[in-house]
């Protein structure tokens, strides 16, 4: 007796076909395409081949400088990514960098002005660097000359009662802990100011501002501010791959607080690193907190009738949320150049 073969219904047949199609697609895609590393390298050559060497470049230290009449100023060319001996030529511009002329005999790595004068104010100096027959690379530095000596505020000892620290709490984020203390040894040299900052929970950054009680500049008695130079040494005492810090110039004036952009060099290592910013002018500072400025106000005000300015610094810490970062500051220095 023959057994009747029952044909599957149409929907079951469709379901089976769909399942076979799905399985077929999975096996095609799962086979990996038959290619391999070579195919990936053809499409993304940077993923496989070593990156090409960085091109030669040069920078000038300092990138900007203000000096008093009669003082010595030295510019240094810092070459990078050259494979051998480097040749130099210094050039000078008296029209703000539009056109340059070679300085006769200025072919060394450093160029020194033995005694700057007011005629040098605003001059732009360019360092050309090249190797053999290669094209030259260049970098510039602007010189400003002041007729009056600068007023310098500096602290390398950091008495605890000379400084006020305030955390910058961002709306929507919880407060974070911060502890500041003077440490007798381990600075560059001797004492330094140690800051232990918690990265705000739920965030990757914490910011603490520090004002010096004793570093007050009064334009009404000391003169209008032309520009500000800043320097410090920083040390990320608890060095890690995920933490680093930045410093910026910070000051208080008439109930408002202002901050500059961060120093171009971050604090990333557990060794003392020099940070510096040169030639900061009024327009280089933005309102950090305080009452909004009216249209008729100058914020900040660097004029000869301006209110006193109390200087400090702002330290911003980056890291994993909730982690604690130990860091140090030494040789804090603000140089106020006057008109």
């Amino acid at each position: 007796m023959k057994t009747e073969y029952r044909r599957p219904s149409s929907w079951r047949r469709g379901l089976a076909v769909a399942g076979i199609c799905l399985l077929g697609l999975v096996t095609i895609i799962g086979s990996g395409g038959g290619g391999g590393l070579d195919a990936v390298c053809e499409t993304y050559p940077d993923s496989c081949a070593p990156p090409p060497p960085a091109p030669p470049s040069v920078s000038v230290v300092p990138p900007s400088v203000t000096a008093q009449v009669g003082t010595v100023v030295t510019f240094m060319a810092v070459p990078a990514n050259f494979s051998g001996a480097v040749s130099y030529q210094w050039r000078r511009s008296s029209d703000g960098g539009t056109s340059f002329v070679n300085i006769a005999g200025a072919t060394a790595k450093n160029y020194t002005l033995a005694s700057v004068n007011l005629a040098d104010d605003g001059a732009v100096f360019m360092a050309l660097a090249w190797q053999g027959a290669s094209a030259a690379v260049q970098a510039t530095s602007t010189l400003r000359v002041s007729a009056t000596p600068a007023v310098v505020f500096a602290d390398g000892d950091f008495p605890a009662d000379h400084w006020q620290a305030s955390p910058a709490i961002v709306a929507g984020y919880p407060p974070f802990t911060h502890v500041e203390e003077r440490v007798d040894a381990g600075g560059t040299p001797a004492a330094f100011r140690k800051m232990t900052v918690q990265v705000a929970p739920g965030s990757s950054v914490s910011s603490v501002t520090h004002l010096s009680i004793t570093s007050v500049y009064d334009p009404r008695t000391q003169g209008a501010i032309s520009s500000i130079d800043y320097a410090e040494n920083c040390n990320l005492l608890s060095s890690s791959e995920t933490s680093y810090a930045e410093s910026a110039v910070f000051f208080e004036q008439s109930g408002r607080r202002y901050v500059s952009d961060a120093s171009p060099t971050p604090c990333m290592s557990a060794t003392w690193t020099a940070l510096a910013q040169y030639g900061l002018q009024q327009q280089d500072f933005r309102l950090f907190d305080g009452p909004a400025c009216a249209a008729s106000e100058s914020c900040p005000d660097f004029s000869a009738t301006a209110a006193p300015v109390r200087f400090g610094y702002r330290r911003t810490t980056f890291g994993s949320p909730g982690t604690t970062v130990e860091q140090g500051i030494d040789n804090w220095r603000v140089t106020v150049w006057r008109r």
Binding site: R7, V17, V26, G30
Partner: protein, 167 residues
Amino acid sequence: MTSLHAAGRHSTLVALGCIALAIGSLVYLTDRDGLHAVGIPAIPALAGAHLFGSIGLWLPSLVHPFAFSLFTAAVLPLRSAWRFGACAAWFALNAAFELGQHPAVRSDLGASIESVLGRTALGRTLSNYFVGGRFDRSDIVAAAIGALAAAGVLLVAQRLVERDHED
């Protein structure tokens, strides 16, 4: 009334497809060093054996449309022309996936896939298939041979069915 032989031929088609898939899987186990297809484990005793030689380069591309054409035909009516259509469809699908690995199109295709599917597991897998794959004309030829071979099997099976009916 269709005899039990028809069901048996359906099973035969499935069995042939499974045997073909097994051979194709063996290629990945023995000849594709360092490449592990999804679902095929690496067996150290077999890896590097290179049983198939140069044939192993395109054999999977032949096996896949052959096997899945037979699987699809097995669930379709015995005398349906759709069975041969399935062979054509599986060839077209394999050829399309192979063409998608061509250097002229794979980068844009990968980017389009990721823009539609996002950086999901499916999106990345599919994108990587095209971008990381290697276009080979012989794979398209192999897919055509596999589909034709499946069509040949189906033709033989259909002739057998017709002979059963005559009997």
